[in-house]
Symmetry: C2
Subunit: 233 residues, 2 copies
């Protein structure tokens, strides 16, 4: 039965997209026996900041946001994770509680993989460990970029950047609108500002012909200009 087939890690295509591709057949088989597939509805939370995770979550389908609450009570979205990404890896590796919350932006299907498997493979499979290491190195660089942007770029610049990011990473629908439909509040949380200012900035973009909207949907009309803007002209 193909239900069973799909659900075996050995046959899962998703793992081609992440460090799990470095795992050996035996590892995958063992993993498959104790993994657990979960369906998560839009808006539901996968884990919350400060929780101790007993494993990681491999995203098979759907999109989630990883966010952190600031001391001031404002939420900051640090990453948007979609198909192929592994959530909770950092916490398991560092044997710490999570520093981020994960919440579904769409209906999702994720596999929960008990941490013992991860830990074991980190011990015994250098290929896997190196793949994870490389990924974390990438993320670290990415994080540095965000720090600099947050510190020195205006909301206007950051919004332009975020829109281009959403476009390049999640694509457009057949009408050219951004495929990923975030709420204004979520976009504001990615940009790192208040919803009101986000909306106002978006309105300015419309007046300037950089974007257009239809309901909550957004279409990028002039990517070149948006790009120049994000780089500070």
């Amino acid at each position: 039965m193909d239900e069973k087939n799909q659900s075996r890690c050995e046959n899962c295509i998703i793992r081609q997209m992440n460090s799990f591709k470095a795992l050996k057949k035996e590892e995958l088989k063992r993993m498959s026996d104790s993994k657990e597939t979960r369906h998560i509805k839009k808006g539901e939370s996968i884990f919350r900041e400060g929780e101790r995770l007993n494993g990681v979550f491999c995203v098979r389908d759907g999109i989630s946001k990883l966010s952190k609450m600031s001391d001031n009570g404002r939420d900051q979205i640090v990453k948007i994770a979609s198909k192929g990404e592994v959530l909770g890896q950092r916490s398991v590796i560092a044997s710490e509680t999570t520093n981020l919350s994960a919440k579904a932006l769409e209906d999702m299907e994720v596999c929960f993989i008990p941490k013992t498997h991860i830990e074991e493979s980190l011990q015994n499979n250098p290929l896997f460990t190196n793949a994870v290491l490389k990924m974390m190195a990438q993320e670290l660089k990415f994080a540095d970029d965000i720090i600099v942007n947050m510190a020195h770029k205006s909301v206007r610049q950051r919004l332009a950047e975020v829109l281009l990011y959403l476009d390049s990473h999640f694509g457009e629908d057949e009408d050219g609108y951004l495929y990923l439909q975030l709420s204004r509040a979520d976009i504001a949380d990615v940009v790192g500002t208040a919803t009101e200012l986000l909306i106002r900035t978006l309105t300015k973009f419309k007046k300037e012909g950089l974007v257009s909207t239809s309901g909550k949907r957004i279409k990028l009309e002039d990517k070149k200009s948006l790009y120049n803007l994000s780089e500070g002209l």
Copy 2:
């Protein structure tokens, strides 16, 4: 001769402080034969953003800043690295050019270690790889914290936080002043603001009895209040 003794990696105490402690004797010996100790004067740069590194730098003594230039031409200090820290690791692991510049804040002594040794140990010594992995996981969490702070905390809050950080990580001299004497411009670059505003905020702190100064030196007078401030009261 103890000159020689000190200069052998096997005998170097510094490596107790970082992931190099997971290296085996043979690895250290080989490393020692091709490493190169460099003296770097205050203000000199160790490497610049975009350079391709042929190895990593292990800090034996002195303190350095790791910074990144924003598109707007403003410098952001992302990390202050001192004794025991390894610079350039991320770039070597990801086989990329550096995303940061490193510059000495004091006279320094660093060991340059060709990347072949790092790469080899990453291949063959799981203990070492795991140590590096754990470290990167820590840094990633730290980076997330900074992102949230930059996005949502005021300069006032961030300065309080930075001062406490300088205090806890680099200590105080016998008079209770911060041991690490950064220029106002450097502090501003850590906080992520302009020098003028940094100075004004510092002046307010003085008036409020939170800190006192003597020349460029800074003493924290009321750490509790600074802490409360940094957390948003």
